[in-house]
């Protein structure tokens, strides 16, 4: 491998947000707008999470989420985390498809998801053609 970049998901792609809600059984895309946070957002969209008293507002212009779950009492933080995980998978899948690549998805024991995107084509590789797998996350 040649570099590693770590990022926190910011949900800026509406199609990927909708796809994440379709992937995630605990999330339902409600629609555009937000009665509660609309004045703070440029492009608000609401999502209802299972077990949450209030809807989450996602400003896809900035990727920010606005919500009030009363420190977990009105909705589990893990449910929102799960939506962000599914968003990242959906966004990567869309990008891979746009570039004409396939994407393999592997669920790991710790709850992480490993996405593998073969680059195809002819590459000069670090190890003479086989790629290397050290430092991988396992399956």
């Amino acid at each position: 491998m040649s570099h590693t970049t770590k990022r926190k998901s910011a949900m800026k792609n509406l199609d990927a947000l909708k796809a994440a809600c379709e992937r995630n059984p605990k999330a339902k895309y409600v629609g555009k707008g937000s009665s509660r946070y609309g004045n703070r957002c440029k492009d608000p969209h609401e999502v209802q999470l299972e077990g949450w008293n209030n809807r989450v507002t996602v400003d896809v212009a900035t990727g920010e989420c606005f919500y009030d779950n009363y420190n977990g009492r009105w909705g589990a933080n893990e449910t929102l985390d799960g939506l962000q995980q599914d968003y990242a998978v959906a966004a990567a899948a869309a990008q891979a498809a746009e570039e004409g690549h396939t994407m393999e998805e592997v669920k790991l024991d710790d709850g992480s998801i490993k996405l593998i995107i073969p680059l195809g084509g002819d590459y000069e590789t670090a190890d003479g053609g086989g790629g290397n797998v050290e430092g991988g996350w396992g399956t």
Binding site: S2, R7, S9, A10, A91, K114, L119, G129, G131, G136
Partner: protein
């Protein structure tokens, strides 16, 4: 089965944090390969080059297959 050739691997944590790595490609051009994916995700928490990034770059040819829509 996992691919073993040149590839991008993205680890998505249960909290939605993503870690992007390139395997099997030398030189600094690997950033070009991952940038579109990283832009999808959001704010950078950290970036670090690994040894392959400092090896002599080779020519890289990217071939993508485009569907004809049919």
């Amino acid at each position: 089965m996992s691919a073993v050739g040149p590839r991008i691997e993205i680890l998505v944590s249960p909290k939605g944090e993503t870690t992007t790595q390139v395997f099997g490609v030398t030189g600094g051009n690997c950033h070009v390969l991952t940038e579109p994916y990283e832009k999808c995700f959001g704010d950078v928490l950290s970036t670090s080059d690994t040894m392959e990034a400092y090896e002599d770059p080779h020519e890289i040819e990217i071939k993508t297959e485009q569907g004809d829509g049919s």
